[in-house]
């Protein structure tokens, strides 16, 4: 063991990372590795060695974890209606108090912020039941009708005034909505969709995502809410900014191409800019905090635990390839790739030993290939064996 090994072991954050890792420590070391590329080999080697001291634990499958969470959510909703009302009232009172304090300075700003938060919250708390019979993405129109899009790779088009074109062949009549009446497109795992909004903005929605948007925008601003990952090609309109709202950030543009990944179960929200410029602002930022402006080929990575944003120069194609059914990765944790593959094929992949997931791998996947071909390729690049347990559960073995 070298002296510099000791430096890491004496750092309590390091042992935490290995023995009781959490989102915070994971992020800490991810950032550390990015900022100190020279120490990377040494750190990863030391980690591998210490991992031997880790106990062998049983793990929940990805789908089990999501199912369990849903069950808890449903039970909370069913049992606790009266209590929840109390919570809502209480937090309303809290906002109201803040609003009164700030009223003298700039009442309108505060009022708008409260309004925005609550709209997002309202949609975030909806428990979305994707019907089990649905074979593809589900569109919920402004009048509450559920439309099953049937194809795993579907399209929805609002650019023809007054009607919605589905999968470029069938047409449904759009209700003559006032501006800002919300529609939703829900993409289950294993699906993707291309959506054209009424202003001709094109949105690719990735597996396990949800977009809330109006059938017609208002005169001042184009606003959508995103849960999950989407790539946007925003049509230019200098007078009407386009705003993507996520749990913690809002991203504002005039006309440009960018990717946003904001899955509720992920610890980071990543905004990657391909062309033009975007501004990224935290929902929690103070009145005087400046928004961050991204340049092309940059990524703003917002950490939801630390509530801070870091900007990196990146290869944009890596973040947008999914729209073409491709996935490329360079020195990425195996677990990260596995997570994407799980979402794409709607399967669960467990690890027989946690340390198998921390190997870094590079390569390119064509997700249009069959599931078996993709898993076979993954076995090769990660030097593991992926065994099938049943129809949609797999386990990675040494």
């Amino acid at each position: 063991m070298t002296n510099s090994d000791q430096k890491f072991i004496e750092n309590p954050q390091f042992l935490k990372w290995i023995f009781h890792n959490n989102l915070y420590t994971e992020q800490y070391w991810e950032n550390y590795l990015l900022e100190h590329p020279g120490e990377k080999d040494q750190i990863l080697e030391l980690k591998q060695r210490l991992l031997e001291l880790q106990f062998s634990n049983d793990t929940l499958f990805f789908t089990e974890k999501a199912e369990l969470k849903n069950l808890i959510g449903t039970r909370i909703d069913r049992n606790l209606k009266p209590n929840r009302l109390r919570f809502v009232l209480r937090s309303f009172m809290r906002y109201a108090a803040v609003a009164i304090v700030f009223a003298a300075i700039g009442g309108l700003v505060v009022y708008l912020n409260v309004g925005q938060d609550s709209v997002y919250q309202q949609f975030a708390e909806q428990i979305i039941q994707v019907p089990a019979s649905a074979s593809g993405p589900v569109l919920i129109t402004s009048n509450g009708e559920n439309v099953d899009l049937k194809k795993s790779n579907s399209s929805v088009d609002y650019s023809q005034n007054g009607s919605i074109v589905l999968n470029s062949d069938s047409v449904i009549q759009a209700t003559a909505d006032a501006p800002d009446v919300m529609n939703q497109l829900i993409i289950p795992y294993g699906n993707q969709s291309r959506l054209v909004l009424s202003d001709n903005t094109v949105v690719w929605l990735n597996a396990g995502s949800r977009l809330v948007y109006p059938s017609r925008f208002n005169d001042k601003v184009r606003e959508v809410l995103l849960f999950g990952e989407a790539f946007f090609e925003v049509s230019k309109d200098e007078n009407k900014p386009f705003v993507v709202k996520t749990s913690d950030l809002q991203i504002k543009v005039l006309g440009t191409e960018f990717n946003v990944s904001a899955y509720p179960e992920d610890k980071v929200i990543q905004t990657v800019l391909k062309e033009g410029s975007v501004s990224v602002r935290s929902n929690h930022s103070g009145l005087f905090e400046r928004a961050l402006i991204l340049k092309p080929n940059q990524m703003a990575s917002f950490n939801r635990i630390l509530k801070d944003t870091k900007v990196y120069d990146v290869d944009v194609s890596y973040y947008t390839l999914w729209t073409k059914g491709l996935l490329s990765f360079d020195e990425i944790d195996f677990t990260r790739i596995v997570k994407k593959v799980e979402r794409f094929y709607n399967i669960s992949i467990g690890f027989s030993e946690p340390k198998l997931g921390s190997t870094r791998i590079s390569g390119k996947l064509d997700l249009k290939q069959s599931r078996d071909e993709v898993l076979e390729y993954l076995e090769k690049v990660s030097l593991t064996k992926i065994d099938k347990l049943n129809d949609n559960q797999y386990i990675v073995n040494k």
Binding site: F19, N22, E52, L53, S56, D58, L68, I72, L80, S352
Partner: protein
């Protein structure tokens, strides 16, 4: 902590942060995966229901582990699966080191693995649970002691003694550093 106002998002963060280690812990008490999942469900439901009483978020981790432990023991007793409990009403804490699965790599490795296995088998279930809690959670000796119903000093001593046994197998320096870390 935002969680106290009933914020669903913060609640979900707590779930994502702890569910894996809680599940791993529960699975060492029983081989019944469904029972562990049910217990985790009840645990989080109760946490949501009673969270106004959880005035000290710094005890959150302790609360989660204690509740899960109680919940599982309760469920095992109720389902009359008492076979999975030892004579004195304790569960078998099935602790294995990760290296055991590497047993196929070469002779020296094999010996080391064998030695490790022996150590883990020679210590009683409570000490195994103790080791798990010390290494896999952020709980303090005071909290671990409370959880297991033993004196915090005893807990600390037992961790040290077991580490002593491990010292030979894992190289002196590494273990010494680990022990410094265990002092806190």
């Amino acid at each position: 902590m935002r969680f106290r106002s009933g914020d669903r998002e913060a609640f979900s963060e707590i779930y994502e942060t702890f569910v894996d280690v809680l599940f791993a812990y529960g699975r060492k008490m029983t081989s019944d995966r469904e029972l562990v999942k049910d217990s985790i469900q009840d645990l989080f439901l109760n946490l949501y229901k009673f969270n106004p009483h959880l005035h000290q978020p710094e005890y959150l981790e302790f609360y989660l582990f204690r509740s899960l432990r109680n919940e599982i023991i309760h469920k095992i007793k109720k389902s009359k699966q008492e076979l999975s409990l030892t004579d004195d009403g304790m569960f078998l804490f099935d602790l294995k080191f990760n290296v055991e699965q590497d047993a196929l790599d070469g002779d020296s490795e094999e010996l080391r693995v064998k030695a490790l296995k022996e150590i883990l088998q020679s210590i009683d279930t409570q000490k195994r649970e103790l080791l798990f809690l010390k290494f896999s959670t952020g709980l303090s000796y005071i909290e671990i002691g409370q959880l297991l119903g033993i004196n915090p000093d005893t807990a600390k001593k037992q961790v040290y003694r077991t580490l002593d046994q491990l010292r030979d197998r894992f190289g002196k320096q590494l273990l010494e550093l680990l022990m410094i870390w265990c002092k806190e």
